[in-house]
């Protein structure tokens, strides 16, 4: 089966749907969205908790409600969404791209498109990524898998739970599993500060007196068929486990909430150049990747903590992709944006002088009274003060008027010292 469209969006989560809507409202006629799962909505469908949408919809929604709103907007248009369809390859033919996709209903599909938006989202890091020693019994899984089991299929993944990593999904699952009758024995975090948002520490751990062990890790897993016990050790500043202060916790389930990685196998096969820090594509100010006509937005570009920002970024991406199709994208000189002191990553990495940009960034460690500075080779063009800033909170800053004669931009924090354990 062969299809020919102006724009193809890969992934029908909140990012893909918003990008498709933006393409439509920018005047693109034929838009196809392909989705690997059996329904649109992405990971939001299993995030049944509230806390989504405060920026984007100006009210607090649950994950499914947020997704249903996006989907309803899509249904009002003639945007086509094909579910159960998995993209296998992107082939760059210059002015057009070809995507090879597979589905039970349509078999092998060749989809030709003028422009492609990558919106595949991210996946969870697993036990193999951090190489936890010990046996390999049942009952060890990522927090997101446990979330799917409990919220979509209705299974309790265990009764005595230990959670490694204090990412948001792990915290949310601590509450969910406690509410559903399990006992969450502890959350173990290697870093000196929590990985998740403050409100989740408060509502998901503190509300239930679940202990959070910062600067600790799991050094061994015991259990033959089912996991029985984990060994927990404090770690020093170099992340070496310490014997002193080690203890064990009996459990029948270990959840891993140890970070997310953009899902970029498809992008890599297409020869797109990646950013080694974000693990997403390197993009310019239009969110276009190193392959002309292929754009990226949402968690496949860099992992967001708020879906609201995914929507905002994807809307912008869709608008820019539409301009690309219509030949309206400005070409002009591009200058690099450099990440300086205490900036873990920033995006985009290239901007055009004389224009504005929306900068996304994360700091490396928690800081108090930090000033963010953006300067060109000549002048400081932007400063912002933070009373407190955490790596877990991505910052989004609109920067107006990049001077026309700038050679580069440098973004850094002008602060004294990082503060541990803030």
């Amino acid at each position: 089966m062969t299809r020919n469209v102006e724009a193809l969006v890969i992934g029908a989560g909140p990012g893909g749907m918003e990008a498709a809507l933006a393409l439509k409202s920018s005047g693109i006629e034929s838009i196809l969205v392909i989705e690997r799962e059996n329904a649109p909505g992405g990971i939001l469908m299993q995030c049944i908790h509230n806390g989504f949408g405060l920026h984007h919809f100006k009210e607090e929604l649950t994950g499914p409600e947020y997704a249903e709103r996006c989907l309803e907007a899509v249904k009002k248009t003639d945007i086509e969404v094909l579910v159960n369809t998995c993209a296998l390859d992107i082939i760059d033919n210059g002015d057009t791209k070809k995507v090879i996709a597979l589905s039970e209903e349509n078999g092998m599909m060749d989809i030709e498109a003028r422009v492609i938006i990558l919106a595949m989202g991210c996946r969870e890091r697993n036990r193999g990524n951090i190489a936890i020693p010990g046996s390999r019994p049942a009952g060890i899984m990522t927090a997101g898998l446990a979330q799917k089991m409990s919220n979509i299929y209705g299974y309790l993944p265990g009764k005595e739970i230990v959670i490694l990593g204090s990412g948001d999904i792990g915290l949310i699952m601590a509450r969910r599993l406690t509410w559903e009758g399990a006992r969450v024995r502890a959350v173990i975090e290697a870093q000196p500060c929590p990985g998740g948002l403050n409100r989740n520490i408060v509502q998901c751990l503190n509300d239930f007196d679940i202990p959070l062990y910062l600067s600790h890790t799991i050094t061994n897993i015991e259990g033959k068929n089912r996991i029985k016990k984990v060994y927990v050790s404090p770690i020093d500043a170099e992340f070496n486990p310490l014997a002193k202060g080690s203890f064990t916790l009996e459990c029948d389930c270990l959840l891993l909430s140890i970070g997310l990685i953009p899902e970029n196998e498809l992008s890599l096969k297409a020869g797109i150049i990646m950013d080694p820090v974000t693990k997403g594509a390197l993009v310019n100010a239009d969110l276009m990747t190193s392959v002309n006509g292929v754009f990226a937005c949402g968690n496949v570009l860099h992992v967001h903590d708020l879906v609201d920002y995914v929507s905002e970024e994807s809307k912008y991406c869709g608008t820019r992709a539409a301009m690309y199709v219509k030949g309206e994208l400005k070409k002009g000189r591009e200058i690099p944006v450099k990440a300086g002191n205490m900036v873990r990553y920033l995006l985009p990495r290239k901007v055009r002088p004389g224009e504005q940009m929306l900068l996304s960034l994360r700091c490396i460690v928690p800081m108090v009274n930090a000033s963010l500075v953006i300067k060109t080779d000549k002048d400081v063009i932007y400063t912002k003060k933070y009373r407190k800033i955490f790596p877990s909170e991505m910052q989004r800053l609109p920067v107006e008027n990049i001077p026309g004669d700038a050679e580069y931009l440098e973004v850094f924090f002008d602060n004294k010292k990082p503060v541990a354990g803030v």
């Binding site: 049944i48 409100r199 407190k388």
Partner: protein, 117 residues
Amino acid sequence: MKKDLICITCPLGCQLEVDYDKSKIIGVTGNTCPRGGAYAEKEIFHPERVVTTTVKISGADPSLLPVKTSGSVPKGLTSKIIEEAFKLEVKAPVRVGDVIIKNVLSTGVDLVATRNL
């Protein structure tokens, strides 16, 4: 009395220092907007939470319907509301916002569906 709280009204998570006595808030510092003061008062004297859980649904795939309380409920009632939801089974079709339990446990708020199934 003094208490440290993290304001959870928005994702910023301001660290509040709250000074209060038996019946009222004397002062709040650390908030970056007025919502922080209101949060502190509520969290100390009447803590409330929104409850989200699932109920069984027949005639739909998947067979779990996500639900939430349409407003926040007293923190002490959250487990009881989840027990109420656990007892239920509803029939598809259901739309976002459909009331699943009206005035749940006399809290004045409803348990409503959060997905179309």
